[in-house]
Symmetry: C2
DNA sequence: CCATCGCCTTGACGCAGATCAAGCGGGCTT
DNA sequence: AAGCCCGCTTGATCTGCGTCAAGGCGATGG
């Protein structure tokens, strides 16, 4: 476990391929300058812990590359993932000094960080940034509620299928290939992390993956590379309504 | 199922014993006037559906009296509660025309409603209101994440114990009695609604309630009235860390 | 006073997924 | 190239909770 590397490249905010760019797009130049001055980057290796629950957190951040997860752990070691952060997702709470959840890099991760207190000050003076923060939080809340349905009521097989569609949908390749043919991507999580996401054991995850493979719903090339020959077939395994998503 | 009664009492905002009062406390008088003009009340009986998922919702609201729940339903009828609204909780999304979840009155409910579009306009001009909305949303997100741990990793008995502590803590009587003696309250949910909350069947809920009663952790007076002789003993059944909660 | 209905309890049984255990295979170190 | 470790798979067995079924109890109404 090496120390995270910290660098301070003075790139323009627009160079971050992350969601806070949508904020900056509406920022005045002096606001951008302010953002630049409190911004820096951190990198973590797969498996590293970014923060422990209870630790002071002096920054908020956007995920630039890689995948990080929020998990809760019970005294006896039972673990539940409660957040999965993909590129462009936001990490941290401007109003909160200490983290409430363990944050772990599930792949190599690069964060674009903002020092928390100056970021908080900026929120007071730039209402459109806090509006954007509200939108993002509401999206997270919706995701959490989908997740609750999954945890409370779906079978192991439905959980796996739902998880795969969630990951597939956020893959950059998905937009081009959907409906046209197969979708392929690498799983950014170990079987154990999937188990923590889904409220299962890693053995059950493994068995259900094998089951979906045996039934031709997915192909497995190596342990992590997934090919979905027909996205509709996978969708049918999720238990979800089949009609299109509802817009805002 | 009778139609909801709608009344338009011109009470002052400060008379609502609800969380948006905290907003209004900082409002200028012209903002208060604006709020008054778009405000009205609705009442629902226990069991009534307030809105169906997909319905247009032309208002947002605060719960004044009673308890309402948000639920998701799968095609085959499996149901999961994803939100429980107690007095002072907020219902609806200013930016969202259609509801994403079924909203049901689990007891008789009174809502303090604001017409959505004017409320939305007010948000643009009064930043502290959207800040307050952000705080409330973040609280909901934390609650959802606790809930996910419960759904994914806790045993039936732990789920019931956790649920009872959650309800007990929000009972007005709790503040006075904790540590001093027993806590007593009425369950605002049927066994079936508890099952939907906890990701269980109503039979399992019933059995586990009987189990906790048999072991002296709770007393049951009638079907709904709960007496907790020693809150610590109940806490030990939840599986949660026993140290005090973390502050913001 | 009895019939009905909604909500709840309890019992018997089965199964999905947890637990325990063994082994595989690819990449790393030595 | 031998050995090891880590992530993963698969098998055998166990068990907590779901399912199916029968009744209890209190409120409401005829």
């Amino acid at each position: 476990m090496s120390k995270p590397q910290i660098s301070f490249p003075q790139e323009q905010c627009a160079e971050c391929p992350i969601r806070h760019r949508a904020v900056c797009a509406r920022c005045e130049s002096d606001e951008l300058e302010k953002l630049e001055s409190i911004k820096y980057y951190r990198s973590y290796e797969a498996g590293q812990t970014i923060v422990w629950a209870g630790d002071k957190m002096d920054f908020v951040a956007s995920v630039v590359h890689g995948v990080a997860s929020l998990t809760q752990t019970m005294e006896d070691g039972r673990r539940q993932m409660v957040g999965l952060l993909l590129p462009s997702d936001f990490l941290g709470r401007p109003n909160r000094e200490a983290a409430h959840y363990d944050v772990t890099a599930t792949t190599d991760v690069q964060l674009c960080c903002f020092r928390r207190v100056p970021f908080l000050e900026m929120l007071d003076t730039t209402p459109h940034v806090s509006q954007r923060l509200l939108e993002m939080t509401l999206d997270e809340l919706d995701a959490a509620r989908e997740w609750m349905l999954l945890l409370g009521r779906k079978t192991a097989r439905e959980k796996i299928a739902s998880f795969l569609t969630i990951i597939a949908r956020r893959e950059p390749s998905f937009q081009n290939t959907v409906g046209v043919g197969e979708v392929a991507f690498d799983l950014p999580l170990t079987r154990e992390a999937m188990a923590d996401y889904l409220g299962l054991t890693l053995e059950t995850v493994s068995r259900q993956m094998s089951g979906l493979k045996r039934d031709g719903v997915i192909r497995l090339e190596g342990k992590r590379h997934i090919v979905i020959p027909d996205f509709e077939v996978l969708m049918d395994e999720t238990g979800d309504d089949s009609d299109g998503g509802v817009l805002d």
